[in-house]
């Protein structure tokens, strides 16, 4: 960076940084793939804009969605972000598997630099922009309804969290076309990611996208924990909450404490890179070990931030599709809480190989294995939930069952890795890669897909096509085993992660099987898209206006599908666990309330989109050293916050008469609906009113 360039209008950005220009000037397979990816993204953006314009969708998009602070819409937008990013990150995964499967004593099709960017974006996106938004979106949509609340405690803050996360995702997407991304992996270990060894914009893209997302998640944690503590319906004591709310609570608490070390670590790395600090450099007192500690102080709880909500989903899905109350509710709560606490005591197992001696390693190894106890308890609690039930193997349930089977294998290899001596042998190897995919795919992703299948009819008012869901399920399942079981083997054979080219012919067969598996995983994703399209086209035969297609047990099933913006016409009175099942069994479901009251809901606000768009500019400007834009966007962000503090009219009132009219009309509709026996829940007979078993 020279003094001139850093104060020019576009900072250090030049035409050669645009991937199309770069590819034109330096044609090659790797560059061509890079430019194509950028091209697909730009085309996708243009098509969306064109469609929105053609169908005059801009007004609806802005008023009904982008400026909305309704937790349900915020939740759906989170999930949309996750799906879009999932598409990119899966394709990257397939591309890497292809490269490795052909790169035995052969350079393959990707340059080392491109491959480095791929594993860095794949990991960063999957964790921060697929798993996190998916989980956060799911909690957003479901948790307030399950505790009988009208919204989260701080609706605007919730929208700001979404926009900060989306801004981070946007930065990663921009890096596809403008400049390069980091090659430092999703963990971005210095000193490699320091300015000395990684000059250029790549690591800066990583730093600012992750920083924005991590601040968004911290705010989400604060918001959700407050909501669960303060916004529960009368009678909804903590020990009557559905398991999903418990796991949301644990995740929120983890977010509050665990995101901060990440934000700090990324900002310290930024100071090293931008301002000549020496926190993590090789020389002048810097120490990369501090980064490893800070990062994993976040990184390990992060694993549980992601997986606990998925555990919550499995609890709901297994209980509902077994037609039975959850087994060992208190046991599950205690296990969840234990996992949350223990998750802060194990971070060092990510670097047993740093040379800290047997004492320290043994302590952290044992702490790691301790987590296996509550996790094992949970697995058996889910199994026992099915015992003496009536099990329906719907798509959501299939994903849950496959999770149980697959997750314990990952648990086994996790215990293997928790042993420092064995870790010395398989650390950094494909065994490790197989292990964490073995936890995150069945754990988080299957959980989120199961939740998506389960709650989709609640959110959109019609059921998804089961047939395509099952096709997708088989692709995901076989795809998973084919992709990652060979990686375990390769790890034991001494194959290391992040390797662009191999020199051992015996790896070839395993890598090829793994590539086939990756294609199957990608098909699984495509079939989810097919399922969505087919279901939308057949939506009229799939509608569930009465709102309870699966004989649900918790409060979100007691209102219409989709629910009104205020969730509940009258806040329900909760008398025990499985609140809605109780109401149904007592014959009080769909009874007209005695009285209606005015309902206050938050108004839409442009603050969150303003902050989000300014945050994208802010990150972009920092990456390219466009200092005037840094100042401008920073002022915009905080200006929006300050301006908002002068707005006094932030809520509007929905009069009781309107609530009454809407609710009574819906209740009338429900009463006219025929009840559905469970045998027919996947036929058009199911309009969302469940037959009550007595």
């Amino acid at each position: 960076m020279t003094a001139e360039s850093s104060f020019s209008l576009l900072g250090i950005l030049t035409a050669q940084d645009i991937s199309f220009v770069h590819t034109f000037e330096h044609p090659g397979m790797s560059e061509f793939i890079d430019a194509s990816a950028g091209g697909v993204m730009v085309m996708g953006g243009i098509i969306v804009i064109a469609l929105l314009t053609y169908y005059r969708g801009w007004h609806a998009l802005w008023c009904d969605w982008l400026t909305s602070v309704d937790h349900k819409k915020v939740g759906i937008m989170y999930v949309v972000v996750a799906f879009v990013m999932l598409a990119r990150a899966i394709i990257e995964g397939v591309l890497m598997r292809y490269q490795q499967s052909i790169a035995v004593n052969d350079p393959g099709i990707l340059s080392p630099d491109h491959f480095g960017q791929l594993f860095s974006t794949h990991g960063s996106i999957m964790i921060f922009f697929v798993a996190m938004p998916f989980v956060t979106g799911m909690m957003n949509y479901i948790m307030p309804q399950q505790i009988g609340a009208r919204d989260v405690s701080f609706p605007l803050l919730n929208a700001i969290s979404l926009w900060l996360t989306a801004a981070g995702a946007a930065l990663v997407m921009i890096s596809l076309v403008v400049g390069k991304f980091s090659t430092g992996g999703w963990t971005a270990y210095p000193p490699y990611t320091g300015i000395e060894f990684s000059p250029g914009e790549g690591v800066d893209y990583w730093i600012w996208s992750i920083s924005l997302a991590s601040i968004g998640s911290t705010l989400t944690g604060l918001n959700f924990a407050t909501t669960i503590y303060k916004n529960r319906a009368p009678g909804m004591t903590l020990f009557r909450m559905p398991l999903f709310c418990w796991t949301s609570l644990c995740t929120s608490v983890l977010m509050i404490f665990a995101m901060a070390p990440l934000t700090i670590a990324t900002l310290m790395l930024a100071l090293d890179r931008y301002a000549g600090f020496h926190f993590f450099t090789n020389d002048l007192g810097g120490n990369m070990m501090n980064y490893a500690n800070l990062f994993w102080l976040f990184g390990h709880p992060e694993v549980y931030i992601l997986i606990l909500p998925a555990f919550g989903v499995f609890s709901e899905v297994i209980s509902t599709f077994s037609g039975k109350t959850i087994y060992g509710y208190k046991s599950l709560v205690i296990a969840t809480m234990s996992i949350a606490v223990l998750s802060f005591t194990v971070w060092l197992h990510h670097f047993f190989t740093m040379g800290q001696g047997a004492n320290v390693n043994a302590i952290f190894g044992i702490a790691t294995m301790l987590i296996g106890v509550p996790t094992g308890v949970k697995v058996y609690d889910w199994l026992l939930t099915m015992v003496r039930g009536r099990i329906r193997l719907t798509t959501a349930m299939l994903f849950s069952v496959m999770f149980l089977v697959t997750f314990v294998i990952g648990g086994l290899t996790g215990v293997v890795l928790a042993n420092p001596p064995v870790d010395f042998a398989v650390h950094n190897s494909l065994f490790l890669v197989a292990h964490f995919h073995n936890m995150v795919i069945p754990g988080v992703l299957f959980g989120m897909i199961a939740g998506y299948q389960f709650w989709f009819p609640k959110a959109f008012g019609f059921r998804l096509a089961e047939r395509w869901g099952k096709v997708s399920f088989w692709c995901w399942s076989f795809g998973f085993y084919l992709t990652f079981m060979p990686l375990y083997v390769l790890g034991l054979m001494g194959a290391m992660r992040r390797t662009v080219e191999w020199f051992r012919p015996e790896y070839l067969g395993w890598l090829q099987v793994s590539f086939v598996g990756a294609l199957l995983l990608f098909s699984g994703f495509l079939f989810l898209c097919v399922q969505l399209v087919v279901s939308i086209r057949q939506r009229d035969q799939r509608r569930v206006p009465a709102g309870d297609p699966w004989d649900g047990r918790s409060l979100e099933w007691s209102n219409s599908s989709p629910p009104p913006e205020y969730n509940f016409a009258v806040i329900p009175d909760v008398t025990g666990q499985d609140a809605f099942t109780r109401i149904k069994q007592q014959g009080q479901a769909y009874a007209s309330p005695i009285a209606y009251e005015d309902i206050v809901v938050p108004k839409n606000s442009i603050v969150a989109p303003v902050i989000g768009i300014a945050a994208i500019m802010f990150g972009f400007a920092l990456v390219w050293h466009i200092w005037w834009l840094v100042v401008f966007s920073f002022v915009c962000m905080w200006g929006a916050v300050i301006a908002r503090s002068f707005v006094t009219e932030t809520e509007r009132v929905i009069p009781a008469s309107k609530v009454r009219a809407d609710n009574e009309a819906w209740l009338q509709q429900v009463r006219e609906c025929a009840t559905t026996p469970r045998e027919q829940e996947n036929t058009s007979v199911n309009v969302g009113r469940a037959e009550v078993l007595t």
Binding site: P112, I326, G328
Partner: protein, 296 residues
């Protein structure tokens, strides 16, 4: 419905086939699973012990899950339907107790193995220990043999049956040193020293590498370890000192530049204090970080 029930069984069967395949292929591979020394052997045995013990917790799930899915399926007449059944003390004791006991056993084992297999712990052997200083560079490994006063790059010469004590540092970013068939790995970091003790039981050639991603040449950062007899080692060392150029500051400056070497290099003498000098470069000349309390 029926097909769905059988899935876990199919998976178990394919897992069995996979295990068989694995064991045969892996036996011939160059991972620690095919050990060529006591450390790798101990690691492999430790791994097998853990897997066997863990199977006690996991196996019941694989057996019970298909059975439960079948017995309690919708429409069945067999299993009783008790939608409110939610707790049983005996089961509760079992599902907390068994994992707790197993983790207890594994923890006891882990504690002892962590000490036993501590990479810093000298290996018990009748032969004297061979000292090797290893320096990680982009994208190559430099090995200095202080007792022989010779050095090799991307090629490691050790004596079969004689324990080797590596003292490692980095002249660049953090890396991780590993010879899979001999044992585990250890990080190398600038300004710091880590240690690793390994032993090759028999003469042979073993692949070594850096496992920690460090940029464009990462995949090519590999070296061959030659475990030879004491006599061959001595001959090699003498030949080196007689015929190879010195590893002086000029040669070092050339090596320290990021590059992938086409073939290994050898040096017949080593500038005094090179290893400590590389460390001191990052610590401002002060040897204030000592990994083991001994002099750098």
């Amino acid at each position: 419905m029926r097909r769905n029930q059988e899935v876990p069984k199919i998976l178990m069967r394919s897992a069995g086939v996979l295990l068989l395949l694995t064991s045969s292929v892996v036996a011939a591979s160059d991972g620690f699973i095919n050990p060529a020394g006591p450390v790798a052997e101990a690691l492999r045995d430790h791994l097998i012990f853990i897997v066997v013990v863990m199977a006690i917790v996991i196996a019941p799930l694989f057996i019970a899950l298909p059975w439960v899915l079948w017995r309690y399926r919708l429409g069945t007449k067999s299993g009783s339907y008790q939608p409110n059944w939610e707790f049983s003390w005996p089961l509760e004791v079992l599902i907390w107790g068994v994992p707790a006991v197993i983790v207890g056993v594994l923890s006891w084992n882990l504690w002892h193995q962590s000490y036993e297999l501590d990479p810093y712990k000298p290996l018990a052997a009748t032969e004297a220990t061979l000292e090797v200083q290893a320096i990680a560079l982009d994208w190559k490994w430099v090995f200095i043999y202080p007792e022989q006063d010779v050095a090799s790059v991307n090629e490691l010469m050790i004596v079969a049956g004689r324990p080797v004590r590596f003292r490692l540092t980095s002249g660049t970013v953090m890396q991780s040193f590993m010879i899979p068939r001999l044992g585990g790995q250890i990080y190398t970091m600038a300004g710091m020293v880590t240690q690793l003790n390994l032993l090759a039981s028999e003469p042979g050639q073993f692949r070594g590498l850096n496992t920690q991603y460090n940029g464009m040449g990462f995949a090519n950062q590999k070296f061959m370890t030659h475990a030879v007899s004491q006599a061959d080692f001595d001959t090699w060392a003498v030949n080196m000192s007689e015929s190879k150029p010195p590893l002086n500051q000029t040669a070092w400056a050339q090596l320290a530049k990021p590059s992938v070497l086409a073939s290994p290099q050898s040096f017949g003498s080593v500038a005094e204090g090179l290893f400590t000098g590389v460390i001191a470069d990052f610590t401002g000349g002060y040897h204030h970080i000592k990994a083991d309390g001994t002099d750098l």
